[in-house]
Amino acid sequence: MRKLFAAIAALGLLVVSPGTAQAAEPAKKVVKVGVTQSVDSMNPFLAVRLVTGAIQRLMYGFLTVPDSKTLQPSPDLAESWKTSPDGLTWTFTIRPAKWSDGQPITADDAAWTFNKMITDDAAKFGNGPAVANFASVTANGQELTIKLKTPQASMLDNPVPIMPKHIWEKVKDISKYEADEFPTVGSGPYKAVEYKKDQFVRLEANPDYWRGRPKIDELQVIFYDNPAAAIVGLKKGDIDLIGRLNPPDFEAIKGDANIVQWNTQGRRASYLQINHGATTTDNKPIGDGHPALKDVRVRTALHYAIDKQKLVDEVQNGLAKPADGSIIPPLYKDFFWAASGDEKVTYDVAKANKILDDAGYKKGPDGIRTMPDGSRKLQFRFSIHTDTPIEDKLAEYLTGWFKEIGIGLSTKRLDSTKFTEETGVTALFDIAISGWSVNPDPEEVLGTHLCSRRPTASGQGGGTESFYCDPQYEDLYLQQQKELDRPKRAAIIKKMEERLYTDAPVIALYYPNDLEGYRKDRIASITPIPEDNGLLYGGSGYWPFYTVDTVTPDGGEDGISGGELAGIIGGVAGGAVVVALGAFVMMRRRQDVADERE
């Protein structure tokens, strides 16, 4: 019996050890980033999630990377490039750098990566669309030649990480390969050394990185299943930084002396999507949109009736910028277009009413307008997601404003899959909330308003964000695709934004800010992307986590840190429980013995 008690007591004491064991480890500069999305696959040919894309940027070189100041494509693994006059042949010179295992990086690695994606269907999951326009890819020493099927100005925003051929060509079935051999061989500022599914990825500085070793030794990407717990983790110091916060979570980190509230311009646009007469790819009407919304005057009147500044103040807690442009946010200076002069729509109820009066939509006795032929009232539905307080609030404001111009609005709440279906495929909506996060090259977001993205006749969704199909817009899209001169291309893209603004298949409301938080007692410096007022997590490229540095190394610290203290207390508490349980068991045993003796 004594032995049992001693064993339990010993176990209790051992519980204390994890806390103290940590203190003995050599001081490392570690930064812990919290993320609320788990890694889907460490194999870049398979992964599709945003968090995984961010980690790939840290582990592998790409052809180009957005410049930290201008966001324009700048050299990464490709030192330089040139284009043939017809825009079909691109020649990249690959930097003579080394893989993290010491092997030289050549154009052959890049050619292998792209050709693998072209020839092996299993390798297309991750970034297949990026090579869809590639006719052929060849390598000669450090020279990589890509021949395209049609000109493509977005070539320099290629999202494919270049993989080491000598490692990956051994993989037999790419679709089954988990890339779980660590440390990984890459060419980025970090290499992955450990990955636990749904838990974390541990990255170590790559000492041979061609730009030079990162300032810290280790970067941990730690997964939280819900933002509330992540905020607790940040406040406690279990993580040092968390990005992509929504306004309520951002407010929750206010007032903590050790936490910096990072509030800068974001990469997202929030807009209303208006069912202006949805059609399928064979131009047949689909859905049940209100006929009045086919009239651009009605759409414009709606635009005039929205007080965007008020929405920013009341719905977004002031953490956004009212949209005076279209779907590309001002973060992307080169491509951002803002309305001016007569075109500019500002909050003006009188003007909205006048537009509708002039167009013949007369108010009925109940104050709601009817179609000019009297057939139907202007009573619209507003589709939003369930359980989104922000969208509920938005709906309240819009309902109030639209009432002032004689338009009724009822709110329709849908769960996200149903919402996507009704507003993107079946067109069972009048007005819907929407939004898009834009990349440094805006081709993708522009593409979501093309005719070809409408649902097919058989009802398969094509990824449209508006059911838009406008000859002028289509023409401009093709023009910008071919235009390799950046300023000229930007001018065309601005015309596309202008078209979306005036024709109003979508009405941009505001550009939500990028909201993040980090501990200043842990992170001494970090450079956002773009450097001026940009993002830390969720931006493009590796800049923030390449430049991040910690507060003075832990080595100089004397005494025990909060975390270690907590560990020790936790250990003691755990130990106490074990001892108490042991004592309880002992007492029960004694009592039993006593009972038996009776």
Partner: protein, 343 residues
């Protein structure tokens, strides 16, 4: 007829055993039928969900309609629903749960990677909740109306009514973050620390991570064991054999532990067996609060896409384990309680 004759004779020699076997076989047959129905229901239930998995997976990526079609064909979504159903049934009968749309890996592997941590958490919580419930329930039922009875029953019922998410977050904020004099002793997420030591240190690290999620689960569910135990002990209190035991001069505690509790355990045992089935399903909410890398999270992710194969796989596993455990509960009940046998 001649062939089966000796067998029948042999069985007649031990009628009790024969009865049990026949009973178990009947129950197993019923279970198999349920499983078959579940397989059919699983397929159509999830097909009712709105949403196009291919579109959801392509969201935020520049994919042309042709590429979307290619992807649909690859996943077999271009085929008609009856064709998909036949394929699904064939696959399932060969114990192949298919390949996840999003992870592009066999569903069985994805489940295998996560079932361990789920079983660890829900299993521990079940054992703790059952022990706590039985112990408190037995005492409460032995002296109904006593201060202990009122107190423990009230507390358990309050916790039973509390939303899991709320309680979990509260525990997280108080005991993981620390408030005022309460230190933040426990970790805020996961099953282990990033720099957890090896060996025994790892075990202790996991134990520390388990405290809050386990506490949440136990707090919310132990009331059911307490109440069932309490009411069945209550039934025994007035029985003649208890009076007899008292007349023999046994101490009150002994009468409770040696006579009343064993007799009162029966309904609780059944309940426990039924709950074991749900252990596999885990607790989606608790896993979500504490970022526990288990099946609940996998299932939740699958619904968001919707990742049909992954949903079917996890759902099948959960329902089948519930059915199997329910069947076992029936059989165990049969063995434990002679009254069921004679009936």
């Amino acid at each position: 007829m001649t062939v089966t004759q000796p067998a029948v004779e042999a069985l007649e020699e031990s009628p009790a055993r024969y009865g049990l076997l026949r009973y178990a076989a009947a129950k197993a047959g019923g279970a198999l039928l349920s499983i078959a129905m579940v397989i059919v229901a699983t397929f159509f239930l999830f097909r009712l969900l709105p949403g196009d998995p291919v579109r959801a997976l392509a969201q935020g990526r520049n994919m042309t309609p042709e590429q979307l079609d290619l992807e649909r064909a690859r996943l077999g979504l271009d085929k008609s629903i009856p064709e998909q159903f036949v394929h699904f049934v064939k696959q399932t009968l060969q114990f192949d749960l298919g390949t996840s749309y999003e992870y592009k890996r066999p569903v069985i592997d994805l489940i295998g990677e996560r079932i361990g941590s789920t079983l660890l958490l829900t299993g521990t919580a079940l054992v703790m909740a059952v022990s706590l419930g039985i112990w408190q329930g037995a005492r409460a039922g032995w002296k109904p109306g006593s201060r202990f009875d009122k107190f423990s029953t009230a507390i358990s019922l309050v916790l039973w009514s509390v939303p899991t998410f709320w309680l979990g977050l509260l525990l997280l904020m108080v005991f993981a973050a620390g408030i005022g004099p309460v230190p933040g002793v426990f970790p805020t997420r996961g099953i282990s620390s990033v720099d957890a030591p090896g060996g025994l240190g790892y075990v202790l690290d996991v134990a520390q991570h388990m405290v809050l999620p386990c506490l949440t689960m136990v707090a919310v569910v132990y009331a059911q064991y307490l109440l069932v135990m309490r009411s069945s002990v209550l039934d025994e209190v007035g029985q003649d054999y208890i009076t007899t035991a008292r007349a023999k001069g046994l101490r009150d505690d002994d009468i409770r532990r040696r006579h009343a509790v064993p007799n009162a355990l029966l309904p609780t045992v059944t309940l426990v067996f039924m709950r074991i089935g749900f252990v596999v399903g885990g607790a989606v909410t608790v896993e979500a609060i504490f970022s526990w890398p288990g099946l609940g999270q996998l299932f939740y992710d699958a619904i968001r896409v919707p990742d049909f194969t992954l949903m079917q796989g996890t759902f099948l596993l959960i329902t089948v384990s519930v059915i199997v455990m329910n069947t076992l509960a029936d059989v165990v009940y049969h063995v434990l309680d002679p009254r069921v046998r004679s009936a």
